[in-house]
């Protein structure tokens, strides 16, 4: 006996499925905003894909965080990739401020500064728990014979830099360095990801690249061992004293920081729009892994998280695990220390119109 199902039947089940799924995905945010998290599940939102450096860091934090939060909740990591990280960041910004959803966001600063169309958040609107700093290591093809920034500046090599996207902090950082030095280079961009970029480097398609310091051991070290690449300088992290400090994640390399190396190569302190842009990049390195709560989160919850994160980041067990599993101990600043940097970057574009114009030009690959 053949029985036909009406379209209403099918779409009714579909709607029910969608509703149940929606309830399932948002159940964490329906809990109360009490400062005790006993019996609750806290979700850390990673705005990039599983397996990336940020994902690994957030998973490590999720392992140690429960013991320092009131009520010892379960902490999970949810990856919410897309739109260069904007989807996950927007999600956290409009999440219920009950302390059950927080962002472990990778680099929300540059999409905000560039006013990307997908940005529906304010950088200083978040409640900042703190931030883990991360920077990049710049490396060149061994065949160029260049070993330092001065050599890079004076080399006759035809430099080719391969990037991810004109508006990524990755591309902007390298272009700021090369622009400050006055080095001529060919810029090709649009590689789908870091591994494709490294593939391009291996095939000789480009000869100057940069990679996250925390990914150095996994991605760059093999090429150094094979005599394909030479690391020449690290970006470093701009500290509260106005200095470009070395990134502890690559302490073993003893590389100079880029601001000092460029100053030495030029013979004077860098200035001008490219130098301003470079300084912003170095400042933003403080905020690379942003640990944030949604706007409107009650102060006791923010305080509980700041205390818990500080304890995690200074615990010897976490530091040892981070050194082993991430390749280096993270450099962490609590919310009160990063707020001045956020405010400075938030107003940077309006106070430096020429640099803002340069940034707009570079980010559109004009």
């Amino acid at each position: 006996m053949r029985r036909r199902r009406s379209p209403a039947y099918v779409f009714g089940i579909l709607a029910l499925s969608a509703l149940l799924t929606a309830c399932g995905t948002s159940s964490a945010s329906s809990a109360s905003a009490a400062p005790s998290f006993k019996g609750k599940t806290v979700a850390i939102i990673d705005n990039f894909s599983a397996g990336g450096t940020n994902d690994l860091l957030q998973r490590l934090i999720a392992k140690y965080l429960p013991q320092y939060l009131p009520g010892h909740p379960t902490v999970i990591v949810k990856d919410m990739p897309g739109a260069g990280g904007d989807i996950g960041t927007n999600y956290v910004y409009r999440s219920k401020p009950d302390g059950l959803t927080l962002g472990g966001l990778s680099d929300p600063t540059w999409p905000y500064l560039l006013k990307n169309s997908g940005v529906h958040y304010k950088l200083d609107g978040f409640n900042w728990i703190g931030a883990v700093a991360d920077s990049n290591v710049i490396y060149v093809a061994k065949s160029t014979g260049v070993t330092n920034v001065s050599g890079l500046m004076h080399s006759n090599a035809k430099w080719v830099f391969g990037g991810l996207s004109p508006s990524s902090s990755f591309d902007l950082g390298m272009r700021a360095i090369l622009g400050t030095l006055g080095v001529k280079y060919k810029y090709v961009t649009g590689y789908p990801g870091p591994s494709q970029e490294i593939q391009a480097f291996r095939s000789g398609e480009d000869n100057i690249e940069l990679e996250g310091a925390s990914g150095y051991e996994a991605l760059i070290a093999p090429m150094v061992q094979e005599n394909l690449a030479t690391p020449v300088v690290q970006e470093g992290i701009w500290n509260a004293q106005g200095k470009d400090a070395a990134d502890p994640a690559v302490a073993q390399l003893n590389l100079p920081t880029v601001w000092d190396a460029v100053t030495s190569a030029l013979g004077h302190t860098p200035s001008g729009s490219y130098a301003n842009l470079l300084k912003w990049v170095l400042q933003s390195n403080n905020l690379t892994r942003a640990e944030v709560l949604p706007p409107g989160t009650p102060a006791p919850i923010v305080s509980a998280y700041r205390t818990a994160f500080s304890k995690v980041m200074t615990s010897s067990a976490f530091m040892a695990a981070a050194k082993k599993e991430l390749g280096g101990a993270p450099s962490y600043n609590s919310g009160d220390k990063v707020l001045p940097i956020i405010k400075s970057l938030s107003t940077a574009l309006s106070s430096h119109p020429k640099t803002a114009s340069l940034l707009a030009t570079l980010s559109k690959n004009k």
Binding site: P166, G190, S195, Q199, R202, S203, K324
Partner: protein
Amino acid sequence: MRDLSAVWSGLVIVFGWPTIIYLLLGVGAGMLIGLSVGLSGLTGLALLLPFAFGRKPADAFALLLGMYSVTTLTDVIPAVLMGIPGTTGAQALVLDGYAMARKGMAGRALGATFTADVLASVFGSVVFMLAIPLAAAVIGFFGSPEFFMLAMLGVSMVGGLSGRSLPKGLIVAALGLLLATVGTSPETATARFTFGSAYLLNGIPLVPAVLGLFGLVEVLKLARSGERIATDRLAVSVGVSQGIRDALHSWWLILRASALGSILGMIPGLGGPVTEWMGFGHAVQSEKNSEGIGSGDVRGLLGAESAIVAHKPTALVPTVAFGLPANASMALLLGAFLIVGLKTGPSMLTTNLNLSYSLVWMVVLANIVAALLALALAKQLARIATIRPGILVPVMLVLLVVGSVTATGTMGDVVVMLAFGCLGLVLDRYDWPRPPIVLGLILGKIAEPYLAISVNRYGWHWIYRPVVVVLFVIILAGLVATAKRFRRRPGEAYAMGGGGTSEDTREEGLHIPTGGKTG
């Protein structure tokens, strides 16, 4: 000699205690993940990665690779039995697998696919062992122009996915390529066709699109017909041994598709779905009497499955040897290397060579164990096809919705699934092929950035590069073969889209190998 000793030592590592237990646990987890619509090896690796913390390297990799290796084995089950791809790597399996299930040959389809899994994983692993010394040279040949030409090679296979009409296939493939341009321009970072939606800035996600285009269409058709997928309870489960014989008869096709998958696996950035479609396209282009492939021919299943299974072990080559992840799953595995305190690169080929070979043994053993388990359960699993639609349809709809939201975790995924479901219904209703859309959607995202980079980096001189020329010749030969095929059989009908569309297509198109090489 030293390498042979390392190969043996690698096997000893896998059978060590408790490594073998971790491998079996990983296999169990992988089989469940493959069965779960929307979840993939990538999701499984993300879920299991925390278990690597504090484990010995061999134990951690046994767990992770045991899981990762077998998701492509069980993802065939929902594809064959319900017309829903279990992962994005099971799209092409829907075409022939589901059509076979509707003809009452679900058991045969499963038997053939599981056998191909074992053969292809062994082949891919042998290639891994042989390729390690040559990999650096092979990888060094592939720059952006070569990636663009590989994407074009995939596009050139559209003829094999076009069903009865090449023009229709080309138009649908062009639509897929156009849809691939939705999102942020890779070269200028400008938003295109996003209509102000942040969701679309990253482009159309593949998982919900594929689930809508294939899964939703088949579910709606099943609900509308009110008939069971297969009516003969006995027939669906008796063909497992025949399926095994089919696979063994088609060993030459499995070998060729595995070779193709092995090579594509080593090249970073192409991924499983491209490899699977190329394997399927190769079966269509190279097999005699291939008009039934796509509507219930076991050779379509074998070509697609062999390619994707063989690509998994060779994807380990650039990851292990150079720290260069071939795909997103390998990027996660790279994280596992750090977690257990190992460095990828030359040391994996010298001081840790034994462990490197043990990884390959893990892939082979995991596939053998999983295939034996799956074959033992195939008869029972095949009976899913005989469940009443009143029970099966709601379950399938829930699976589709839950599977869709694995893409970004937002309701936008459900909207994409529904939109592609509607598009699929229209195409199916008017007898237009659906697979070329997926091909265009996948390959457009590879072709566009690499063409732009090639022109930007080399001008038009890139067309003279040796590998580009070789790939161009292969593409041309494929196109000529396709044109001949269509000229030889003008208007000959066979379905291409996810299961028989009419009574007559359900009666034809089943290829039964008669022995020896089928190529």
